[in-house]
């Protein structure tokens, strides 16, 4: 499947864009996505943390992704 990945903050800077398309086999998980992204963009390894939100909720690494999900990269938050 083709996943549309949305990025904020420093994740956007690392991707060089606020949205990228990622090809991922059907049935793959959030953990698989993170692994693939870290392989392609090594600066992600340097972050204090990197979470993924699926459909506006924090997702665990075990969450299985589908092509219709809204997938967002959440680098370390710093509101307030």
């Amino acid at each position: 499947m083709e996943l549309n990945i949305i990025a904020f903050g420093i994740a956007k800077d690392i991707l060089g864009s606020s949205q990228v398309q990622v090809s991922l086999a059907d049935g793959k998980t959030v953990g698989d996505l993170l692994e693939q992204l870290k392989a392609s963009y090594q600066d992600f390894e340097r972050l204090a943390s990197l979470f993924v939100a699926v459909n506006e909720e924090y997702a665990s690494n075990e969450t299985i992704l589908s092509a219709t999900d809204e997938v967002v990269l959440i680098p370390p938050v710093s509101g307030g």
Binding site: I6, F8, G9, I10, D13, R46, L47, A48, A53, E56, E57, Y58, V72, I74, P75, P76, V77, S78, G79, G80
Partner: protein, 136 residues
């Protein structure tokens, strides 16, 4: 009630939103833009949010506070965009019958907001810019 705003926050209206005849205490936390960080002059702060999720996560904080303290009303408003020194980035207001709970709930809310709510802050210096807390 939670919201993300692109304009300056009206403190008076946030406070009025939590006033209640049932309450004797209101605590209000206001986060403002400091002129320096670790001794280095800051020109401004740029905030961005994943807005729909930020609103949901702020509401979760309010729900968790309600489960722990006898809260009458609670509001969190966060501003995004480019903020000058001294401007208000976030306001949390909570009303409770007695004062101890208002302090506890307000402090819990700002502590948790800084950990869970998808909002990001970039410090703009004379000689560069840094996403706060991005790196260990």
């Amino acid at each position: 009630m939670t919201s993300i705003t692109h304009k300056s926050i009206d403190l008076q209206s946030v406070i009025e939103a939590v006033q209640s005849p049932k309450c004797g205490a209101i605590d209000v936390f206001i986060g403002t833009v400091r002129e320096q960080t670790k001794g280095k002059a800051v020109l401004r702060l740029d905030f961005e949010a994943y807005e729909p999720m930020a609103i949901k996560e702020m509401q979760k904080i309010i729900d968790r506070a309600h489960a722990q303290w006898p809260i009458e009303k609670m509001t969190i408003v966060h501003r995004v965009g480019s903020l000058a020194i001294g401007e208000v980035a976030v306001v949390i207001a909570v009303s409770t019958p007695h004062r101890a709970a208002s302090f506890a709930a307000c402090q819990f809310a700002i502590d948790t907001l800084k950990e869970t709510v998808p909002i990001w802050k970039k410090e703009i210096f004379e000689d560069g810019e840094v996403w706060v807390a991005a790196h260990p």
